[in-house]
Subunit: 871 residues, 2 copies
């Protein structure tokens, strides 16, 4: 028997998401649950991918489709292509996970010159011709790539000719005229007549939906959302129901809970006498779902019943589409609803409270990277109080943002290149705007409701957004907002939480962890396995880190302690020393400062681990570069300017990243690490004797490339430390670990595993070396890589699993062979990014370390990843 | 039964080299062959390594040793420690491969205050007391680490007191006095009396030899010669024979062929009435071996007989030591003799001619890295003719060298650090000088013969050396050489081939491949498997490459074509272009030059492969840096200096190695690679149509990190090339390969294997990235790494098998899974280094590419490595 590519709704269920797509699987499930779903079938995702590779499958798929059509005809009592009692179809894409607005849909399929007349006589002529012109427009656009504007401009022309303002005032004759004009456009673009054979229409539509998986905006969306290219989309072919058939018809969308706040109250919109696309596209402003009760209480109650049933069944907030055709309700779609980060927390917490899911299930539904925005800035409350909004709109996606006004994708990109913040301001947004939305700070639109494209996409991105701002008008190359005109480059501030818009900049502050977030973090503490440390370099940083829940310090960059004004010149004195004696004299002065810092840090951290990285950057980084500074330093150190200049030149490196840095400095100047060791150990002794604190000291050696080198430096540190401990006559534990941040250290991890007390992957440097990318220089050319579709993601933002990750996996595997209990951490920037954390946790690391502000999300991410592994 | 650590000579044979060391195994073999070898036994190398780890083995080893002593007593009829008829022992080290002078020996062991009197009465008193004082001296030095000078100074004092000039004039009473003084030194240094128990003497001696494996100079020697630390040394304990017993006694060393020239004529030296150490140490000037015939024809003939027997048995030139004791000949040692590179070729060719070995066996005996010196400079013949030598000595190791005079190890190191050439000038050399010998250009000594330390070691290193220069005197802190005084820093030229010494510098020229080398290269051509290409960037380079036998061009760096004076400014015009049009205009001019170069290269190369690397360095490398140049360029290009300065600043990179270079340039500016492709393809078409040459074109894309990036650039090259070929209306083949020079490309080699026509490993960059070592910067700190014994070898000179090599192995394994026939080459500097080549050949590569002057050695190395694999 040949492979099955086509499934009737009754043949599928919700678990077949991979094969039938999200929409298709849920249509099947709803059919099984007895909901009023218009009859239809799904062409599978594997049909999409296989057909794309092998066009000869067409015949086989076509045969299965028309077999399914026959069954739909039986179920509906209608006949496809029969002018007297015709079956009209909706053809919709539906991938494994929802990609809203990304892919194509053709409605009203099955109409032609003859059938439209049948419909006209059966129902009403205006509806029939409107549906036909809509079909021609969508088909032309989706299946033949003709620009939608070519059609929409014609409507505007006719409206002007006839002096009509609203679409609803267009007459049957207007539509008939439009149909003629549309067909001309079709012929002009394709060289062919508009197809009258409904079978051709259907197969071309299926083809087009398959093809839409590969279109540019879908590719871009997948890139942003990290969706594999080989999943493919299913095609849902369904009997059409008409929300625009008459005054008793309508269409709407609703969430079982509020997707913006998470409140447990149905939230949605509907329009009577309209097709579904009108709601989603935000072209007409709809009414809130509660108003449906006034319109038709019976239908409203029926819908509420289905909504409850679906939420209980799927145990998550649902996003549903429905149509009312002449007073009968149809459910067209249900899916787990997209929500703001805030809402995602509230819904998770509420579902647990309601006993519908448990804490672990709730955690597994959260997306840590998106919750990031909650920890990102909101407007300064005090400043906000003093300001008056100039206008307001719907608060589509919360948070505060300011930036320069940009009207076009190009302008946003231009501002971004100049490192300036942009606010994208549009009449409405469309899928073409995705890229600009991604890189702007916030989005403001004049049209559209809470479920418009702008609102849905912005929420998905965790991006500040205000939509449907009626006081926003485009006037030439300016906008009128409230009373004033603004142009590109002027600064606006958007409060996505309230919907208020302000002139100029309002400063931002970090948000607090309260309410639902704090509940979720309590669950996290209960189920956490992998630890989260913070990167913190000074006693002040350490306090911040503890406040946000850091369980240790994973990276204390000791060089940062030298950059303070009163210390940098001593550091320079040390570097410029001509003899060991001079150097040791300067080091003694530095010792005092470092010891004091470590004492303060150890006092704060109590018995929590403090991982101290010894001096890492090349010495020349500390030296003055400009004439004035050199002059001052010469006076201070009683040296000639030439002496200093000479040393600056001597220490200059062509590639400092690959130069005399890390433990290489200690190989040449052992006294530097000796001083640092002394500072650490003496501090440890002092907090032990004075405050009875047993510090958890972990000394970390950066940039090692070979076991002999590591041992050489380790021995020196150990001898220094043990001598101090011995003279103090007490017991003090400390560990000496290796940073694994060169490819060579990764390749020789088994050798290091036997001699290092712990590992800490420095994924920043490792990424630089694996890619041959200098972080300082690569930004310049990486833009070309994004633009030319070579790179999707910056490997410094998210760990490169295929390259850097493979090396880490290799290293960890070999290291654990030698020492199965080896403590292994990650202290690169990736340690705070949820997808990277997921990868690391799966590699079996013991902790990650990240910037303090990322600690809560990192904890959440670590916990979720551990739970996934257990599942 | 407990493990056997001790083997009587008759229990071993030549194949037991790993267990018994080279010397021990050959002593056993000679015993088996019936040669007159003094009785003895070998304590195995595993005893050395195991004892070092576990001192409790002492008792077990001791027991086996004294059992063996009992058997030796039976064989010799003497008794160890018995004053009346005592057995005197020689205790010598002997590792798996010979490490001349590196390890320790104690002779005359078994003497004490009582026994020496027995010997005195049995033989002659002077001999007895001389032997005893020699024993005390060696034992004190070797077993107790007391400086040899402390003893030798005493001899000088006595000689002065007694007004004696030569050692041989010292009397028995002198020796008795010396013995008393020696014992005092011993006690002063050790706090103990000199041991009278011969068993303690023996065990301490064995201990000391074991320990000598770990002494500093042995470690250094192993590092230079790449000998594993865990081999250990055996200890050979042998009944002493005395070359200094009387006037009918003597000692000598001889080679079965001339170790300097390879001539098939016995070559050696002997001294009558002396111990062996006197010959090797070069303290007394010996007589040539031919003179032995005059001294004692019977012994001479007997010795020649053994020499022939041994050479025929081992099928290689032998280096033998012998002793004559009161007219009876003993053979103390035989081993394959060290030889100069020249001699190694002649001996190999002669042995093949004599039918003793075949070509393959002969090839397997050659050491390609050492033959390098033959391809390295000799003095310019014309210049040499005009010069008169100021002095001459023995031509110990051939070739020409000049440099500044250095009297000490420290001075050589100092000169090296300033990048200056040094000639080490010494009275004689000792193992402490090894490091200075390694880094100097040549070695000149006043004392010693062709088998002295300086001569043997220099030959082993392929280092120019003249020894035994009698006209060389040390006068204060100067030397007198011939008629004149010279001081450190003055320049000398040494002709190691003739032994002549010249004032000042004589210029050097490459040597030619003639005679035996050319015979060997004919064998190579017959047995070669892996191909050797050359790196060549210009038509001129290409001619040179073909001359030395390159089978293709493995790396043609196209940017080198731009550095010529008439081209660099066009290159700059291209880089400074403000618009695509301007850039294309400049590129058109460059196209003309590049095309011409490729035509000339293709004409030379005929159908041999030409691998062309497209532009690699960052663009800023071509821009002027100093004010004057910028000024000139501004005039030339009709731009302002500020414009140019601004561009220089804009293009500046912090880490150019990790910056905008390689194919990254083509991602940003596709027109550059397009121009290069056009130049290559149009050149290919022209040589095809005009000269009927089907060029073998391989285009190589540098620095790739991901398949998408490679494909992006490859597609552009292909489209450009195919369009040109199509318009030309002919068939032209070309390949597009990937340079694998980033860790990421290595980690993703399986992806590249499917899309690249060939691979070429760029091991220079790969080494930089795996180590995080900038070649431009690392030299500065690598000295510290050598000094502190962290690094043995510069990873840019010899491939790092453990790190870089592991990555290459991983890449090749995965690439071959996808494409088993993938052509894989290496084009880094390592492609011309024999050890690295051996590693690459074992990885299964298809070719290496190196500098033209290294091609012959690379061919030899490739062939030897392939033969080893087949063996």
């Amino acid at each position: 028997m040949s492979k099955k590519y086509v499934y009737l709704f009754k043949e599928g269920n919700a678990s077949m998401r991979n094969l039938l797509g999200g929409k298709g699987a849920n249509l099947c499930e709803m059919t099984r649950l007895g909901l009023p779903v218009p009859s239809g079938f799904v062409v599978s995702t594997s049909a999409c991918m296989e057909f794309n590779k092998n066009q000869t499958l067409r015949e086989k798929i076509e045969k299965q489709i028309f077999n399914a059509i026959k069954k739909i005809e039986k179920l509906t009592g209608k006949s496809f292509g029969n002018a007297q009692n015709t079956l009209i179809l909706a053809v919709r894409s539906g991938a494994r996970i929802s990609m809203p607005g990304m892919m194509d849909t053709i409605l009203n399929l099955g109409l032609n010159d003859e059938i439209v007349e049948g419909i006209a006589s059966q129902y009403n002529p205006r509806f029939a011709y409107d549906s036909y012109r809509r079909f021609i427009q969508m088909y032309s656009n989706v299946a033949k790539g003709i620009k939608i504007e070519e059609f929409e401009n014609l409507i505007d022309v006719i409206k002007q000719q006839e002096n009509i303002i609203l679409d609803k005032d267009l007459t049957t004759e207007n539509f008939k005229d439009l149909i003629k004009l549309y067909k001309k456009i079709y012929k002009k673009n394709t060289g062919e007549e508009f197809p009258q054979d409904v079978k051709i229409q259907l197969m071309e539509a299926v083809n087009a939906v398959f093809g839409s998986w590969f279109n540019q905006r879908a590719v871009l969306y997948r890139r942003i959302n990290n969706i594999p290219d080989d999943w493919g989309t299913a095609v849902n072919v369904q009997s059409m129901t008409f929300g625009n058939l008459d005054e008793h018809s309508g269409t709407g969308v609703a969430f079982t809970r509020n997707p913006s706040t998470g409140e447990n109250k149905m939230y949605g919109e509907f329009i009577m006498n309209a097709q579904g696309e009108d709601v989603v596209a935000g072209i007409r402003t709809p009414l809130p779902i509660e108003k449906l009760k006034e319109e038709n209480e019976e239908i409203y109650n029926e819908f509420v019943g289905y909504a409850t049933k679906l939420e209980n069944y799927f145990k998550d907030m649902q996003d549903m589409e429905f149509t009312i055709q002449s007073g009968k309700l149809y459910i067209l779609q249900t899916r787990n609803g997209k929500r703001t980060p805030t809402a995602s927390l509230k819904i998770a917490v509420d579902l647990v409270k309601e006993g519908k899911i448990n804490e672990k299930e709730a955690l597994l539904r959260l997306e840590p990277n998106k919750l990031n925005s909650l920890l990102h800035p909101i407007f300064n409350e005090a400043e906000l109080k003093k300001r008056k909004p100039i206008a307001s709109g719907l608060p589509a996606s919360p948070g505060g943002a300011f930036g320069k006004i940009a009207f076009s994708v190009e302008k946003v990109i231009e501002l971004k290149k100049e490192n300036q913040k942009a606010i994208l301001v549009r009449l409405e947004t469309s899928p073409e705007d995705i890229e600009a939305m991604t890189i702007s700070e916030g989005i403001l639109t004049a049209r559209g409701g809470m479920t418009s494209h702008a609102a849905v996409v912005a929420r998905g991105m965790g991006k500040v957004s205000i939509v449907g701002c009626e006081n926003l008008k485009f006037v030439g190359n300016k906008i009128k907002l409230g009373q004033k005109l603004y142009q590109e480059g002027d600064i606006l501030s958007l409060d996505g939480t309230t919907g208020n818009i302000y002139e100029n900049e309002i400063s931002l502050v970090p948000s607090n962890l309260t309410g639902d977030f704090s509940t979720v973090m309590q669950w996290v503490e209960k189920h956490k396995v992998v630890k989260v440390f913070a990167n913190a370099d000074t006693p002040q940083d350490v306090k911040e880190a503890l406040k946000v829940g850091a369980e240790g310090i994973g990276l204390c960059r000791t060089e940062h302690m030298f950059f303070q004004e009163n210390r940098i010149n001593i550091m320079r004195e040390m570097i410029l020393a001509d003899t060991l004696q001079e150097r040791e004299k300067a080091l003694k002065k530095l010792l005092k400062f470092q010891k004091k810092d470590f004492i303060d840090i150890f006092k704060e951290m109590k018995e929590k681990p403090v991982t101290i990285r010894l001096l890492d950057p090349p010495l020349h980084e500390f030296l003055p570069k400009n004439k004035q500074e050199i002059e001052n330093l010469a006076v201070l150190l009683n040296k000639t300017q030439e002496d200093i200049q000479e040393k600056v030149v001597k220490l200059h490196e062509f590639n400092p990243m690959l130069g005399h840095r890390g433990l290489r400095i200690a190989v040449t100047y052992p006294e530097i690490y000796q001083m640092q060791t002394r500072a650490i150990i003496e501090a440890g002794i002092e907090v032990k004797t004075k405050y009875d604190i047993n510090s958890n000291i972990e000394i970390m050696i950066p940039l090692t490339i070979c076991a002999r080198e590591f041992l050489h430096v380790k021995k020196d540190i150990k001898e220094t430390a043990n001598e101090i401990i011995k003279s103090a006559n007490l017991k003090l534990n400390y560990k000496i670990g290796a940073m694994i941040e060169t490819p060579r250290a990764s390749l020789l991890a088994d050798e290091f595993a036997g001699i290092a007390d712990f590992f800490s992957f420095g994924t920043n440097d490792l990424t630089q070396l694996v890619y041959a990318f200098s972080r300082d220089d690569s930004e310049k050319f990486l833009d070309d890589y994004y633009e030319k579709n070579i790179f999707k993601i910056n490997p410094f933002d998210k760990i490169d699993e295929k390259g850097v990750g493979k090396l880490m996996k290799y290293a960890i595997k070999n290291a654990k062979k030698v020492n199965p209990d080896l403590k292994i951490g990650v202290c690169g920037e990736h340690g705070g990014e949820a997808d990277s954390i997921d990868f690391f946790v799966n590699l079996g690391i013991s902790y990650v370390s990240c910037s303090p502000f990322r600690v809560p999300i990192a904890k959440l991410a670590c916990t979720i990843s551990s739970l996934k592994i257990k599942n």
